[in-house]
């Protein structure tokens, strides 16, 4: 039972990542991220129930409130403020991107077979998903030009990390977790502020234009 839920959620997260790669509307991207975070939360809860670890509930609550509510809301506000809603031409067109992502997934899964549990066991899937998400997120950062998309991609990477944390360690010590989440928020806030400043300055949040500093 638990196993299936976990794998389902993980799969869901991966799908959401793929969807992010697959489309261009920023709002959708943010929503996808929200869903992704929600799934992450679910994973946390499931594990909490499964092996009776209460601090994981806190984790889950934190994740859901922060990542699937607060941050998306914040980002939406940013977008509204700026009024740019679509990701114009990424460096790589969608089909090609998807192909690359498939490759990345393969790599992730290959690596995930190296863990103690080997190919069976839920860990394998969780880690595999997580690693591929990580790479996909990074890939998104590479190919997308809008500042907000990059933030999202970064957050996807964060999610991936958390998924690994849940998957193979059933959570880090709570204090650390808290600290980490706190830092993540701060990072996002700063990114947001910077995006503002950038937009004020450049009338655009196309970061590919930020290329004055060469050599």
């Amino acid at each position: 039972m638990t196993r299936d839920v976990l794998i389902l959620c993980a799969a869901g997260m991966l799908v959401s990542a793929y969807l992010m790669v697959g489309q261009k509307a920023l709002f959708t991207a943010i929503r996808l991220y929200a869903v992704q975070s929600l799934l992450l939360g679910t994973v946390a809860i499931t594990m909490a129930i499964a092996d009776r670890r209460d601090e994981l509930f806190v984790m889950a609550a934190l994740t859901i409130t922060l990542k699937s509510a607060l941050i998306p809301w914040f980002l939406m506000r940013v977008i509204d403020r700026i009024g740019i809603h679509r990701e114009i031409e990424p460096f790589l067109n969608v089909p090609a991107s998807l192909l690359v992502c498939l490759g990345l997934t393969a790599v992730g899964y290959r690596v995930s077979t190296g863990f103690p549990e080997g190919t069976q066991g839920v860990t394998h899937h969780l880690v595999g998903v997580a690693l591929s998400m990580l790479l996909i997120g990074l890939f998104l950062m590479v190919t997308r030009k809008k500042a907000v998309t990059q933030i999202l991609a970064l957050l996807t990477v964060e999610n991936a990390v958390f998924l690994v944390a849940l998957g193979i360690t059933s959570g880090m010590p709570l204090v650390v977790e808290l600290g980490i989440s706190f830092d993540v928020i701060l990072a996002v806030l700063m990114l947001g502020i910077l995006v503002h400043r950038i937009v004020d300055r450049f009338e655009s949040m196309d970061v590919s234009r930020l290329s004055k500093l060469k050599g």
Binding site: I168, D183, A187
Partner: protein, 494 residues
């Protein structure tokens, strides 16, 4: 209450005081006072360690062993001088009169905050806290990079923040994986992530998970340290950041990140032998040294020049560690020490030059600065001599030590490449230094500088020059002892 805690509390309080704003004099006083106090406390803590104690706080979360003590002292020193210089810097800028109160608050608040984070890095024994602390250094420095609020500074800040956060994501994953590799043997709760505990259970860590963790941590913290190919944020950030904070990043962040790398390296060394992580460090270090070469040769901006030279130096240290053995580690740590002691001079002289000429681009500064701003240029030349590892200054000895370790060890080819790169880098750096300081007065073709005045900034620059020179010939015995202790931590054992 524990001295160590005070050491961390001092800058934190300074930060709070600074961010509250208030009259200028008061801010300056708090900044200088606070950072001086911090430095004193750092020395005190190190003293405790040398006294034979292992200062700890919050259980075992903060712990000062040889390595920590060394980094702590160095960071404290850098924080102190950059605080001093920073004040002078702001005064000069104020003369230009484009400092909003917000900027001042940012500065007076963030600099000590940064110092705090950096000290926290150097003493935290808990990998989780370590990560958080490093993240803090990033966050604290972002707005310092964006300080001048020019287009370029925004660009630099953005790149810095994105790359930095990504790196930290990787570092976090690395930490998680390390934690996982222990498969619960570390126990529960806060103390589970303690480095000492890792070391204790090291032999039983799961190899593959550990490897994976090391790789990610290496990429992550490597980004902060500015190892190639994650070095790309450095030149931009250095160019934009005020010199005072530039040196905080060049030394503080570098030492801090290197410190993290060392901790990870030690764990994996204890678990699966040195070769794995050492090999990675060697490769990336070599790569950094090589990457720096062309950009020194064709550099167009003074501060970017310094950035690439610091990429070079982090590369050197990484190579030193990667070459393995006690000698290599000793060389690397010695290099770290001398680098930290000399870098302020480089930054402050360059910063002064840039301020006097109102630009840090070579073509705007123009040639023959030695004629127009003799003191600053002289100091910069001195810095150049030191930074290029020339005798009679310290880095000559550290580099020789590292090279010797290299030729003694199995990596002769790598060492030869390394040596060749060093030669090219020397030539590149001197080409730039020469074409800026020497030559006739360009007259109209470049900015005419303001006349040199011995203000606070200049005074600090002179002070750092004094320190850099003296330290070459005479390192205080305690510091030497620290280096040895640190070497024992790093190179000792296996």
């Amino acid at each position: 209450m524990n001295l160590l805690v005070w050491t961390l509390a001092a800058p934190l309080m300074t930060a709070v005081a600074g961010s509250l704003g208030g009259p200028r004099r008061w801010n300056e006083a708090t900044l200088i006072g606070g950072l001086s106090l911090t430095f004193a406390l750092c020395l005190g803590t190190a003293g405790q360690f040398l006294g034979g104690a292992i200062p700890t706080a919050f259980g075992n979360t903060l712990r000062v062993d040889g390595l920590s003590a060394l980094v702590l002292v160095l960071c404290g020193f850098v924080g102190w001088v950059s605080g001093l210089y920073g004040v002078g810097y702001l005064r000069r800028n104020d003369a230009g009169g484009f400092l909003t109160p917000r900027m001042l608050r940012e500065f007076y608040g963030l600099v000590p905050a940064y110092v705090f984070a950096m000290l926290l890095v150097s003493v935290s024994n808990n990998l989780g806290i370590l990560w958080i602390a490093v993240e803090l250094t990033t966050l604290a420095s972002v707005f310092l990079v964006a300080f001048h609020n020019r287009d370029t500074s925004l660009e630099a800040a953005w790149k810095f923040l994105v790359l930095g956060s990504l790196g930290l994501g990787f570092a976090l994953l690395g930490t998680v994986l390390l934690f996982a590799s222990a498969q619960g043997r570390l126990g529960e709760g806060m103390s589970a992530l303690e480095w000492t505990r890792f070391m204790r259970v090291a032999p039983s860590l799961h190899p593959f998970t550990l490897r994976l963790g090391v790789v990610f941590a290496l990429i992550g913290y490597g980004t902060k340290a500015g190892l190639a190919p994650m070095h790309t944020w450095k030149p931009d950030a250095y160019r934009e950041a005020p010199s005072a904070t530039g040196v905080l990043m060049a030394v503080g962040m570098l030492n801090g990140a290197l410190y993290c790398l060392l901790r990870i390296h030690l764990i994996s060394k204890a678990a699966i032998g040195a070769d794995f992580s050492a090999g990675l460090l060697l490769t990336l270090g070599l790569l950094s040294v090589l990457v720096a070469m062309p950009f020194l040769l064709i550099q167009w901006n003074l501060k970017r020049l310094l950035a690439y030279s610091s990429i070079e130096h982090v590369g050197i240290m990484a190579v030193g560690i990667g070459l393995g053995g006690e000698a290599g580690a000793f060389g690397a740590l010695l290099h770290m020490t001398y680098h930290s002691l000399a870098k302020p001079l480089a930054f402050f002289s360059a910063g002064t030059l840039a301020q006097l000429h109102r630009s840090s681009d070579f073509d705007k500064i123009g040639s023959g600065t030695l004629g127009r701003t003799p003191v600053a240029s002289g100091l910069f030349l001195l810095a150049a001599v030191i930074m290029t590892g020339s005798p009679p200054f310290g880095m000559f000895f550290s580099e020789i030590t590292i090279l010797r370790a290299g030729f003694t060890g199995p990596h002769t080819i790598a060492t030869s490449v390394f040596l060749g790169a060093l030669v090219v880098l020397f030539c590149g750096f001197w080409y730039q230094a020469g074409r800026m300081t020497l030559g006739p007065d360009p007259g109209r073709n470049a900015n005419t500088p303001e006349p040199e005045v011995v203000d606070l900034g200049m005074a600090v620059a002179l002070l750092t020059a004094l320190i850099a020179v003296v330290s070459a010939f005479y390192l205080p015995a305690p510091l030497t002892a620290l280096i040895r202790a640190a070497t024992k931590v790093v190179g000792g054992g296996a």
